[in-house]
Amino acid sequence: MRRIAPRDMVPAMLSPEELQILATSLNVAGRAVIFSLPVAIFCAWALSKHSFPGKAVLDAVVHLPLVLPPVLVGYLLLIVFGLRGPVGGWLKAAFNIQLAFTAEGASLATAVMAFPLMVRAIRLSFEATDRGLFDAAAVLRASPWDRFWSLALPLAWPGVLAGAVTAFAAGLGEFGAVITFASNVEGKTQTIPLAIYSVLQIPGGEAQAWRLATISMTAAVAGLVAAEVLQRWARRRLEG
């Protein structure tokens, strides 16, 4: 009997269509996290500071996707980034980039929805850092910018990773904003939750939906476990 390597097991268990859906999901969520991470770090850093003008406004804007209906976020994105929107029209004219109804657009919608989660996790990590260390660095001639790179970021790094992983896991399941802004295009923007939605429209699609649900749950649980491990590492590191 031929031994099956674990590497071959996943493709063996999944159909080509399911593999395509999983790949689209990973791609959309992955890009969403990678491109929004620097912005999230910056916002989290700013919000962890004592005070600055406009802090309340920034805080509200960052958290908005958490409280708005996802379908509304998708619609707002369509208005701004759609082909006739101010930013979308300019992107198309200047760079021939289209976001609405594309995988890139699905990433943008996912990034916006996962953004508050990411900022909150990273901000907690910044806030858990002993402020006294920054004073200690200042009297060793480290400028604020230097202190950010040499102290704040390295100390918060595990928390930053945890935030990114949490956002990634949440991003895999984003539905409302994605379907509104990027639509449900098989092979392009059809992520796992969109695919589940599609098969449920078909009579007798429950079996297929269950298979997709299992994939979805496996990915989500793996993400949460990874985030928890990183959080623990972060705590140990900051204990000093």
Partner: protein, 333 residues
Amino acid sequence: MSLEVRDALVKRGAFALAADFETPAEGITVVFGPSGAGKSMLLATVAGLNRLERGVVRFNGRVLEDVAARTRIPAHNRGIGLVFQDARLFPHLTVKGNLHYAESRRPADRNAPIVTEIAKRLDLENLLDRPVKNLSGGEKSRVALARAIVSAPEFLLLDEPFAALDGRRRRGYLAMLRELSASEKLPMMVVTHQIDDAAELADHVIAVKGGQVVASGTASAVMRKEVFGGLLDRRDLGARVDGGAVVGGREVGGVWVRADNVLVATEPPKGLSARNVWEGRIASITREAGGGILVSIATGQGYISSRITDQALNELSLREGEKAWAVVKTHSL
């Protein structure tokens, strides 16, 4: 060359600190006062970590902060080092990493010992590759001091740097601070609430009480009963004897002699084991609220106080202006 703080006011929550003094930027200045007097706040203000409400801070003629002129040099551009009481080592770096952090940010034109050199002097060589979280309190203090010295500040502030050390190690640390200050030509300002440490280290003293700088000047001028009385517990009352006293076979900067450890004689003592006998004249006799009597004797090097009983005062018939000998047990120093 001096640190000048003029008409300064700093607030933190409900606590306010008012300061107006000048101290030479050479040797060691001790900031002395009871706990909660505002000593640490004073250091943080000089270092640039607290914002002044009003006033001016100048170092060697350079304005560090002037509220009226809206001038403020941030902490990282002041060239003033600060060793915190709790060491504040960077937890994600090793001991060596902490020292390199300081070394790599030192301006090229500032001379200071390199990492290996300072590690040798402060006995840190075996710790260099250790993560800082596994160090003992005393080790952390030494690493924090080494890190500050490697950064080559023009003025080094130390906040209770010996808090984590006990008895003998503490003595060694004090001696090392004096040596480092002299050999690196590094002026220091050291906060302490221990009168013995203050007397041993101080060339200059800034006395702080209840959020006020109440006195400043040379150690021999400030550390007198008249000025220091209000800062000390009854049992700590005494006087500082200037350098020249020998403790444990080593000459020290100064020694705090508690009045309870001093005997008064009206004739030169004979056949005594006490090594430290000072000759002088009685400068004052004061009755304390607690019932004792403080006799202050002016010697060649300053004043020395003795606490005696009513009975002794009558038996010896001590009078102001008369000759007297102060006898101190070396053990008590």
